[in-house]
Amino acid sequence: MKRPQNAFLRDLKENRVKWLMLLPAAIVVILMCYIPMGGIVLAFKEYNYHDGIFGSPWVAFKNFEYFFQSGKAWSVTRNTILYNLAFLFMNTFLQITCAILLSELAGKWFKRITQSVMFFPYFISWVVVGAFIYNMFNYEFGAVNTFLESVGLDPVDIYSNKAIWPFILIGVSAFKNVGYGTVMYLASIMNIDGQLYEAADLDGASMWQKIRYITLPGIRPTIVILFLLAIGTIMKGDFQMFWQVTGNNPMVLDVTDVIDTYVTRSLLQLQEFGMTSAAGLYQSVFSFLLVLLANKLVKKVEPDYALF
């Protein structure tokens, strides 16, 4: 009992600067993540303002029922997971490709500018992206149809075409997120020891061989960690994106409805905090299980790269 405590205290003393550096992050996580977790109890309560979060009466699992009642739970869960997997693979692929391309580019100015331009969409709000999309695809006066008509083709009604929406969503997700990830991978590529490339040059390796045998293995830890982090949010649809970009369009709901948008539509008029929390808890528990599973898999294949 006593020894580990002493060991901890000693560690605290020896590495106090490091502990101090950890402190701000720890405080933020405790304040923003751990303390609010107490609110989970709301999922099992019928909330009213007067009694507050902890005083409101318990209702067991009643808040979860609506989610399964209409039989949409499965289809929205499936959509959420499939979309996030598609985003994850598509974005990771594009991010790595762009990062490698940028790292191979010679011109410093060109590189900088490209990087900034790619990063820029990350800062545009989804509301604005949604407005872009509407102005492009609107049937009567949208840019796409105006163009089609001017070259003598028939206009297309994108908003009632179910097949096309998954591609649009994957496209806008890439538009917004590729730049951000590219910067992270680029940083990771920059960290690879330059001597490795010099040695490869001496051995007469082609550019493709260098990428295949030096760059990709070099950034593998980054890929694995970013992948594991992304798995954690796989049950959460990016609400803003799905709501704004599709314009909450009932005609294509079968293929665009995710958990978050479904819950919003159900509870918009009802304003039941308990039921909203229930949906959040459902997502979090599933995400947690997925992270555990993914981590276990990684541990089996590459024990060094696992998160824990």
């Binding site: 303002y49 009567e140 599709t246 005609m251 539509r265 159900s266 304003q271 039921m275």
Partner: protein, 526 residues
């Protein structure tokens, strides 16, 4: 040391007692001890010695001159009750999300606009509002206590308690068309009094004005206007067998108005739904509104105002202010207003259609009530809030009329969410407003009805899961039907009925039926 402390306490207490008795202006005992306020409240009359700033939430966008107007209101309030009001706005596009949030956020605010269509019951049952007792009303709002219509006070009760000061104003609601006179003349359309006339006008626009959408309805609340118009006409044609749609509308439940058994059903189950659906579908198919209306977030009045559409449908009250604005902005359009009811009776609104409430966690609920008393009844405050600054935004015409001045575009008549303090005693109508307004209103008055179930309030506490599931359908599939988006009306109705059954609509209707029967018991037919 101890002695000094005791002495100090004694002196302080003495000062407090004295200040409570003299209660003179701003002696500022704010930061001292809490016992003082308890002491002074027990004394006579409301204690207004401490200056307070009340935060008031309104719905809509901040009018350009809002701050100027409230500066004047605050001058008056400061002098009368030693309080000032700070106004915050939540816009129409976000109020549905934001309204419940500010109750839960822990933010410090006091007064808010509310209505039966704007969360009154939802927040009252969640204890979001401060209860206004008869006693509080008489103590802090004597003018209101005197002028309040007794029916309004009764209507405001939720489980026997009142949480709102409903407007002191009898309102008639009916839909009107607003059309472009220049285009009507161009295509030889004389009036829009019947659906056929309206169709002819819109068809002319479709055929000849490719850059316009005839009636650019949006996906928000105005998506249901056309549907409702047609529904009302069909329903009214059934005479005594007409249907009454039960509030809230998102549960799409209705009942035969004079059915003693109260056989509650979904609107989809009625014999008129198919006719209505075919009618809207016809309009949609003819291109009267956009093929993308379900994702259009601009409402049809905005579109009309921007010149993108040739016709708009709206409530008569919206029409009044929009007409005045458009006369000033686009006199060349020669805007005209027509009755869109097609013979269906106009509705005499419940008093709860607009009102003001006080936040249950307000730090100064009494002062908030006093402020509301002034906003409602004090001619200076009421005029300022409702119409703006006299001489800048409007000028009086007699006792009950006013003329909008050019500056009124910065603070338009009756449009700053002041509806909760409307008061028949001081109300002014716009001179030079819609020319045929009197004729329209006279016409509606002959048939207007208050609706059997206008004040019916559905208690959803036992069926929340079903309410959520049905709301979801209302916000997705039903929305499509309201805008006429269907290729197979009968098939889609049947599909939706099946979905409703899966969502548990039977249990919901059972709850409705029980409550409607109980309601009929306590509110015998007029």
């Amino acid at each position: 040391m101890k002695k000094t402390a005791k002495l100090l306490a004694l002196v302080l207490a003495l000062i407090l007692v004295l200040s409570a008795f003299t209660a003179c202006g701003q002696t500022g005992n704010s930061s001292s001890a809490p016992p003082s306020s308890a002491g002074s409240a027990a004394a006579s009359g409301p204690d207004i010695s401490e200056e307070v700033t009340l935060t008031m939430y309104l719905i809509g966008d901040r009018p350009v001159d809002n701050d100027l107007v409230f500066e004047k209101i605050n001058e008056r309030l400061k002098e009368a009750i030693n309080a000032t009001i700070d106004v915050k706005f939540m816009s129409w596009s976000e109020y549905e999300q934001k309204y419940p949030l500010i109750f839960a956020s822990g933010e410090d605010w006091d007064i808010i606009f509310t209505a039966d269509w704007c969360f009154y019951n939802a927040q009252a049952t969640k204890q979001g509002f401060w209860e206004i007792t008869q006693e509080a009303l008489e103590t802090y709002a004597p003018m209101t206590a005197e002028s309040m219509y007794p029916e309004a006070w009764e209507q405001a009760k939720v489980d026997g308690k009142v949480y709102m000061l409903p407007m002191n104003y009898q309102e008639l609601t009916a839909y009107v068309w607003m059309a472009r006179g220049d285009l009507m003349d161009k295509y030889g359309i004389e009036s829009l009094d019947t659906f056929e006339d309206a169709e002819a006008y819109m068809q002319a626009i479709v055929d000849n004005e490719p850059s316009m959408i005839p009636l650019d309805v949006g996906s928000d609340y105005d998506r249901q206007f056309v549907f409702d118009l047609m529904w009302n006409v069909e329903s009214n044609a059934k005479g005594n067998d007409r249907y009454a749609v039960l509030p809230p509308a998102n549960l799409i439940t209705c009942v035969g108005e004079n059915d003693p058994e109260a056989n509650v059903m979904s609107t989809l189950d009625t014999d008129i739904f198919l006719n209505v659906l075919n009618h809207v579908k016809d309009w949609k198919d003819r291109g009267f509104w956009s093929k993308n209306a379900v994702v259009n977030t601009q409402n049809n009045t905005e579109s009309f105002q921007a010149g993108k559409s040739a016709l708009a449908v709206m409530n008569i009250n919206t029409a009044k202010s929009l007409y005045a604005t458009l006369q000033a902005e686009h006199p060349e359009w020669d805007v005209r207003v027509f009755d869109a009811m097609n013979g269906a009776p106009a509705t005499i609104q419940s008093y709860l259609a607009n009102g003001m409430s006080i936040f249950s966690k307000s730090k100064n609920p009494e002062r908030a009530l006093m402020a509301l008393d002034y906003l409602r009844n004090d001619p200076t405050c009421n005029d300022l809030f409702c119409y703006g600054i006299e001489g800048v935004h409007w000028e009086a015409v007699g006792d009950h009329g006013l003329k909008s001045l050019p500056q009124s575009s910065n603070y338009a008549y009756d449009s700053n969410c002041n509806w909760g303090v409307r008061n028949d005693a001081t109300w002014r109508t716009v001179e030079g407003g819609i020319p045929n307004q009197d004729e329209l209103v006279e016409n509606w008055k002959t048939t207007a009805r208050s609706g059997r179930y206008l004040t019916f309030v559905f208690d959803d506490s036992e069926v929340k899961n079903e309410v959520a599931a049905v709301s979801e359908i209302y916000n997705s599939d039903y929305k499509l039907l309201q805008l006429g988006f269907t290729d197979d009306p009968e098939g889609d109705i049947q599909k939706l009925q099946e979905k409703l059954t899966a969502a548990g609509v039977d249990k919901l209707q059972e709850a409705f039926k029980t409550q409607v029967l109980a309601f009929n018991e306590s509110h015998s037919a007029e």
